[in-house]
Amino acid sequence: MHVLIYLLMIKQTAFAIVLIITLTVFAITVRKLVKLFKLTKPAFPVRDIGRRIIITLKVAFLQTKILRKPVVGMMHALVWWGFLVILAGSLEMVIDGLAGTERVLKFLGVVYDIIIASGDIFALLIAVLICAFLVRRLFMNIRRFTGVEMKHKFHVDATIALSLILFLMITLLGMNTFYILYAESEGSVIAGTYPVSSYFSGIFEGTSAGSSHLWHEVNWWGHILGIFFFANYLPYSKHFHVFMSVPNVFLSNLAPVGKMTLMENVTKEVRIMMNPEAEYSETGEEGEAVPERFGILDIEDITWKNYLDSLACTQCGRCTSVCPANLTGKLLSPRKIVMNVRERMSVKGNGMIKNGSDWNDGKALLGDYITAEELWACTTCNACVQECPININQPAVILDMRRYIVMEQSAAPGELNQIFSNLENNGAPWQFSQEDRMMWAEDLYINKPAG
């Protein structure tokens, strides 16, 4: 008996140490992220909390947008819903690990049975679905998983993340199976209901009480260490999605998708141009502030939402798969734009944090990561925005980079410069005189009912 108590104490202590390490590493990552977010610009004030909650429930929890592709969408939805249920079980494991208890939440009774039983079923379901995802990714030639931006390392990342989830599900089922076996051999009451694992326990019938105990411990530790590792692997993976997608949906841009953001620094200049005297008297002293840069050149010009979008993106490629430019062979891929933002932030953002905000590697997001050719291929049709399962706004970055090209570099394609000057001179994109704006109305007749 004493030996058991000692073992339990060792387990508790070991668990506490591992948990502290996990949380510390995670805290360091969060601190780094906060610093990176501090480099970004304001996007929009976060208001309308009620509306945001409804959007989060619909888009994140009910998966309305990913279900636009019903089959694969449902596969993802099942994994996600299963994840939520299993998360409750993981919470119990943390309490058990720290307190030296076993299945501490069993006092919840029927609720506990429901959570544990659905977690048990979902574990098998998720394992099967993850295998299907691995097969899709590795052996089926799915266009959505290809493209210039889908470098080898991103496929490796995806495979690691999927394999880790598979490992977590197998250990969860293993844990449940051997829990049943040793509880049976000890003659103690089995807490929870296990529709899947009780079937597996039948297969391992006859395993000695000692071995069952050992295998339970192995799977328990495997599962919880797997979760801890996963949690700290995610922030450096495309699967950061797991943490960031719900906040990203909650922090969606609530403006209609067709609305572009107003550049207030431009409004100021335009008003001065249109009415110089009035504005001067209002502003008083001139030239007190350094003029703000128009549009996006590099990472310091993006908003926190642009960056959050990039962290939440899991590279599913639904945006690119519906992009008219991409479908017709142009260079533009909305997914690449989002991925480039994250890549550039990790290079330049971290560089700036380390070496001061003046640090520069002589490169920029515009030009070295994203080319003008990609940006000019966008038709602003918003198909990417419509399709993104977690409300990422790809055109926001594209259009702000166009603004930099046009207003800071004066480097728009020639034909567009032509329409700009037409608009300035005669108020239309074509070279027609404003005086001719009523010519369409000449010789217009209507057949009216008599009387």
Binding site: L327, T328, T379, F420, G427, A441
Partner: protein
Amino acid sequence: MEKVRKKVIVPVMADLAAKGEKPEYLFWVGSAGAFDDRYKKVTRAFIKILEYLEVDYAVLGTEESSSGDVARRAGNEMLFQMQALMNIELMNSYEVKKIITCDPHVYNSFKNEYPDLGADFSVIHHSRFLAQMIEEGKLNPGTEIFKGKGITYHDPCYLGRANSEYEAPRKVIRSVSSGITEMKRNRSFALCCGAGGGQMFKEAEKGDKEVFIERTEDVLETGADIVATACPYCMVMITDGLKYKNRHEDIKNYDIAELVAMSLDL
């Protein structure tokens, strides 16, 4: 029914203002509506409907200028805001409260973007206006003229995805026909015609196909005799696509306003 041919004198805002009159609606013609040869016909068709309904409206005429939408999407925020502030000033001077337009890009910009710069008017796209008139029983176009014709509808991005208006244009089409043969990509799944974001005015980037051809293939797949649109850009692109496919003789591209005007024999 007996009909008489009557000349239409399109009322202009400045003339009405001189007489101290204020029309209920401003009809925003748009640059394409005023200058594009094909789209001028749509403007004329819609004016006929306004006249038929005896709507109290006027146009800005030679005072109208670009909404600036294309400049904004091509990255020229400065030019957009200049156009917008100028337009708002002009419309305020006429105390404009309600605007109708056939152009989803203008509609989107007026509805969603102009308020940021102080605009205070409501805007309605002609698809919604026509649908309302049909609902209210003021417009009763018959299905006779398009009997036996298959009709499909191309959703403009700035009407559909940008402003969630999928039903009004369909309602209008159903009022003149026996139904719509949908393309495989429709409503929020619709493929862009390829003209938005300034593309209309420049060569496409290097690729292996033009977007408007990809979309025209969707049209051809339906086997429809008529493809209806509700946007000047889409009109140009789909018409070009049909020509490219050498199908412009047997497949016609009409705006929903033209379908109504034809059905009513205006």
